[in-house]
Symmetry: C2
DNA sequence: GCATAAAGTTAGTCGTTGCTAACTTTTCGA
DNA sequence: TCGAAAAGTTAGCAACGACTAACTTTATGC
């Protein structure tokens, strides 16, 4: 396995954070009708300054729109990314639970795992959930 | 699932990199008897300057020892961490392959996933590899 | 054995993701 | 209504992990 290509660099890490944020924003809007910085402060347990920073980056990258002192809105691209992330997240979590992992642990692990699961692995999970373990 | 606690911060990311490095160093020593910066340059496809940087951090953190222009050595702590990482990595990779994922994809995905798998999930994987899928 | 290639080091820069501190704006209750 | 609490903004700092460029040291091939 020499010459494996590692691409998990700062760029990948950055887009993981972006996915977590748009997912949280979409969830909050679905739950409460709007998403405020403070919702994300609580969700991620970071300071308001950090959230502000990150939101500015998401806006720069065209995933959200904000207006001073107004709730955060997702762009069409942001909504698409959120939907894709959520779906992937749900598959991973369901799969972990089907493995016999407790829902609490499945929730925590799926947060971390979801960003590293390829399409092929995701398809394998979906297939196993539907048709059972390969024989 | 409100109030989920996210701890995947820069600190966690840093320790992921540390694990990848000690694992690669241990593998290289096992293969070729010693590990040089250039081995890591090739392995991670980054520049020598980046490797140097990272190795300095690993040394600061007590995972490796280095001497100018000499091969990189693991400390006892470094070896323990490398062994634990490798074992976890192997379990994840075997599990993915057992799921029907191609070895190539399993290799790539397990690199990313291994850092986010809890003890409980790892145990579930081990159990399924041994006893089959839970009914 | 000496020139050159390979390996390693050092210095400086950038972007991300955290933080604190100080400030402004908005909201709400007495 | 107005004053304090909550929310949001801005500025400045630090660690990490990446880079380039310039340099030194070691190894290698004639």
């Amino acid at each position: 396995m020499a010459e494996r290509i590692h691409k998990r660099t700062r760029d990948d890490h950055a887009s993981e954070v972006a996915e977590d944020y748009v997912e949280a924003i979409a969830d909050t809007i679905a739950e409460k009708g709007r998403c405020r910085s403070m919702d994300l402060v609580r969700h991620f347990a970071v300071t308001h300054a950090t959230v502000n920073n990150t939101i500015a980056r998401l806006q720069r990258d065209g995933l959200v729109t904000t207006e001073r002192y107004q709730p955060i809105e997702l762009t069409a691209r942001g909504r698409r990314l959120a939907a894709a992330s959520r779906k992937r997240h749900e598959i991973v979590q369901s799969f972990l639970e089907a493995m016999g992992v407790s829902p609490q642990t499945a929730a925590i692990d799926s947060e971390g795992i979801e960003h590293h699961v390829s399409k092929e692995t995701l398809q394998a999970m979906t297939r196993i959930l539907k048709d059972g373990w390969p024989t």
